[in-house]
Subunit: 374 residues, 4 copies
């Protein structure tokens, strides 16, 4: 592959748009309906995305449709709905661009351009987008190889626009249960072959809403930098793709579940945005604390068991090691500072944890001795 | 689909083989070489699988090979190596069965039978396996639909053998970068359509070792019940599939990474098996404690921030709520018991955590007041 | 590809079974129902195949079915129906073999074994068939590559059985309009890579009867050595694959159309078998003579025009060349003998044809002269 | 499918461009290089296409290439070379259009526009082409379904441009031996679902020159209305797709072979254009006459055999039927007139043919009698 610009570099590309960084530690959530249909619809969609902790509002205004008789999008009117709803909730925006005319309409009003699957090898459009200095999500073609996809990105970078985010959205296979087959290996392959960020669109991959949570979690665990998910305030009434759109509640639930998945692979999915909602905030926040507490305690349990294992391998005299304890506390305090945990709290509770660990180790030794005696 | 036996039931099937349960909360790890080659190779493979915390040792002794001139497997000799190596490390065994003769050889010596992709619609073999009362991993065919795969399982259940574990191993698509394309949606689809457990074989899906960690994590996050991974003590010298085999170190590293992914989706991957290794245990265990501590502190930081958010919404007089604190501690102690964390430790440290939280809330209120004053 | 036995040799393999040769100049027609259902059905099917000029009667008695609850075939009873119906009309027989038990039942009663798509990589079965000395049609797997398919054949030849006929039956693709996608390039590829004959099964490729004539003609024009087509006396009542079965009339019509296609590519499709039917024979035979006469006259017209073209390039003195005429007639008489045309007829009519040609050439020269004069 | 304009109508669409009709009885041959490279190259290509009897010269001047660093086409300069070379040999022209700018450059100079596979769902381009009144070849997308393809055509017809020619060029599958897999069933499917003509591009389907003759013949036999084939004066030096380009000699040879295939399915492929070449014309023309003669004699042989069959069913007194002979000769003379065969020749030779037939019938009767006597 001849990819002088797209090919792997020492540093991975991070694309910053206002406060949001795509390709960094944080996993980015983009949501919204397939097509912009009305002002109300977009307001509700924006609210749903914001509440779930999403950063980007999606919504198509120029729809490439298989049939000329299908709804083709609201055009300029749609741009207004999309931009205004997003502004109201402090969200970024993304919409698909299909040609020069559509580009002119959205260029100054939308934060991220999208090149759809059907245009992945519309090289004239790629060249035009390459002239801009604007983030663009480049969806993989319906049956494009990884190599063709990266070459399509190379067209954009060759023009001077380096803000490309790749988006895997399922490829065409023989399997009839799903609209497409999500090619999960694309995540790892793109990371090996290129420095560009990659996000996943599980909605178009599955083509059915029930599979999206599973695919979304899989995508984040596999290392994706974000998700582009179809969310509609009323999927049953959607003008397109309703069958694969999540409800706001489902999207919110999924976002919650993704928090721990992201963390499990050293990433972060921030849901703090959701704190601007007054109503049931207290309930949500308390639930969150409950969840955190349970996780802390699970970890403490695991810590104790591990300490016991260590104890088994120590001779009796080695059990307490004041110097190591001191060093550990210092290291943990540094870590606390880094992750914005009050340092004095660490100083207060860790000695208690150590004490309990040692106690367990000693109990273990006694038990061992008895066993040997018997 | 007409799947009276395989179709979704109220209760999901859990298959217990000695101490291992497939389809339960625990995620099962199966590893080993593509083909059994020698006694030494299997001993090293078994050691690697055991150390990583795996429960099942794999190794083909009857190899269905594309060319008649490729290595066709060691047959009975291979069964010996596989069974003995597994016994030595307390592992279960799995190997592929291809016909009546191979079945007779392994029937009493191997714990789990495997039906390979090429035989997924060898209906005579399916019927024969249906007569047994023995666990069987049924791999999805090279280009089988989900429906055909479940129907193949129905053949086995129709015979009376209900211990079927489905295994997705990638489907054939046009993409040349990978040997096959892992169909991640199979996990969720199978869970919706059937009560049978499903595991993932990322090795055959990717056909290259570099992608396996990403796919394996994705699979567990998506809800798979286990993984079947090719591990070879010396992949470069492997007689087949070396290119897609992990080294023991890579497998061990992956297992470690999977622990938190499994936990993130409410599952468990037990690595306790690995504690029988004396040598560098202390280093490993201390690293583990360090990791746990860092996670605890991150959570504490998040807890404090959340508490501050709550504080913002309270009136001054509401900050401290002794009754709620008491209730929380009681609930947490119950939880601690459940997850085997010393209960007294909770009693010791949580009041300290509460104190620090309240202090932060109060500081917040003061800051607010000053702002208002100014 | 390592195909020491299957790989291209100087001489192409011709498989002779009684009077029928597969892989020679003649294109072989195999027809019959998907599944043997009853004595009457097979008698009617055999009659239909015979009348159309087919040489081989097909009919499955051991049916590999996706669901265990679908009709699995009549077994031994079906073998009787198939063998007896074929014997009655002097047809050869072909049926699918799926394991040792089915092999034993059909071995001595059926002329050609078939290995179905689902068993293409059932290597144990391939090895078993390799031990026989019996013709076998090896169908390409659902999603097998050409290389895998030829390797499967190599398994059979490696066992000592060299009478393998490859059968392309469509591969699995994303296209939903057809059951499979006929891979026409397989014909040419197989001919380049191997000395084995290849036939086409358009019925399974299309999965719908309306496309079969077009695919069958395409296959023969592309160079296939024969066709395997589903024909059922009453497709609507068929127990399997009725939707893709031709009626006897459609099969007969297709056979008629194939005659000229085969001839166009230097092959032969013999319909002489059909002359045992008394009823409307005279009408059919006279229609045939009419068709032949029209073709002869078209050719004569073309010959005259071509002769005129030649005339334009000759000088006046060269027009008649007695020696060449004599040589031509001698060559044509040799040809006549070869294709069983009465030699004296050639001697009688060709001088008349030459005379008329020369007359036309001369007229052309006169016209030319006048043009030049004017 | 909602295809009010593209859907099947009583009358099939025929597209006339100057003397050439696409979709009629005649099979149309389009040939030329993948990319226009130079004046000389195009002159030689045009000569080759003309000599083979082709009607349309192809050559890309705006090349959609996977990599931005591959040759992108000569643009306007290329249009000149293409148009001039075609004019010189009386050929029509076709080239791919990719956007508004390219459209403006070629609109008045090129006879047929081409929309490439990668732009099949570039709906903006389809709408723009719909505004024109100009023939357009619409290639099937890399992995487009038949339904999507016909819908793409509907976009063009909906705009008012009804001169659409569909072009199947292979679809993306798992098979690695060929660049794509020719979907031959598209021919028959399109004819059933739509009134539009369909041509085949075997070059892109196969991606290798050796398979093209086989696929081309298959396509015509299956009912295609024409072929689009890559021909390059020097394939080894081609700037793109050399590996799949025929040499002029191969193209000429293929055209010759196609004549009889087209005829076999009631179509016509005219090679009369080729008669403007002086050099080795006599050899070619004589070869042609030889071929015709051999065919005539084969037919005469078949006629005699058929007459014998008829004889067997007649009673002795019925053998000669002067009235029927007279009628036949009259009908054949009418036919001769229609296909431009000298009528007097028929009058001269058919009585001889009748005489010989009757003689054979009588010999048959005698033989029969002797048999009965014995």
């Amino acid at each position: 592959m001849n990819l002088p610009l797209v090919g792997l570099k020492e540093e991975r590309t991070k694309i910053q748009i206002k406060d949001t960084v795509i390709g960094g530690k944080e996993v980015v959530l983009m949501g919204g309906p397939c097509a912009v249909e009305s002002e109300t619809q977009m307001r509700e969609a924006a609210k749903a995305v914001k509440e779930a902790g999403g950063q980007v509002l999606r919504g198509g205004v120029f729809k490439p449709r298989t049939s000329p008789y299908s709804f083709q999008g609201l055009g300029e009117e749609g741009v207004n709905y999309l931009a205004e709803a997003a502004a109201e909730h402090g969200l970024l925006t993304i919409t698909e661009v299909v040609d020069e005319a559509s580009l002119e309409l959205i260029m100054d009003r939308i934060d991220i351009l999208q090149i759809g699957s059907r245009n992945m090898q519309n090289f004239q459009l790629l060249k035009r987008i390459g002239e801009l200095r604007k983030p663009v999500v480049l969806k993989r073609g319906l049956a494009a190889t990884i190599e063709e996809w990266l070459n399509a990105a190379e067209y954009i970078l060759a023009g001077g626009n380096s803000q490309v985010i790749l988006c895997e959205r399922g490829i065409r296979t023989y399997e009839p249960s799903t609209r497409n087959t999500l090619d999960l290996s694309a995540v790892s392959l793109v990371k090996e072959l290129s420095h560009l960020p990659i996000i996943i669109d599980p909605s178009h991959a599955a083509g059915r809403r029930d599979l999206i949570p599973s695919l979304a979690k899989g995508a984040i665990a596999a290392g994706a930098d974000g998700l582009l998910i179809e969310v509609h305030p009323n999927p049953d009434a959607a003008m397109s793709d309703g069958i694969q759109s999540l409800t706001p509640e489902q999207f919110n639930q999924l976002a919650e579940e993704l928090v721990s998945v992201a963390k499990a692979v050293g990433r972060k999915l921030i849901r703090s945005n959701s704190f601007d909602k007054q109503a049931n905030d207290l309930v949500l926040l308390r639930n969150k604390i409950d969840r955190i507490d349970r996780e802390i305690i699970e970890l403490l349990g695991e810590r104790m068991k591990t300490a016991q294992e260590i104890g088994k391998q120590k001779r009796m005299g080695q059990i307490r090691d004041g110097k190591r304890e001191h060093e550990i506390i210092q290291a943990l305090q540094a870590w606390a500072q880094k992750v914005e945990c009050p340092v004095d709290l660490i100083q207060a509770i860790y000695p208690l944890i150590f004490d309990r660990s040692i106690q367990l180790q000693l109990e273990g030794k006694e038990a061992e001795k008895s066993e040997r005696v018997i």
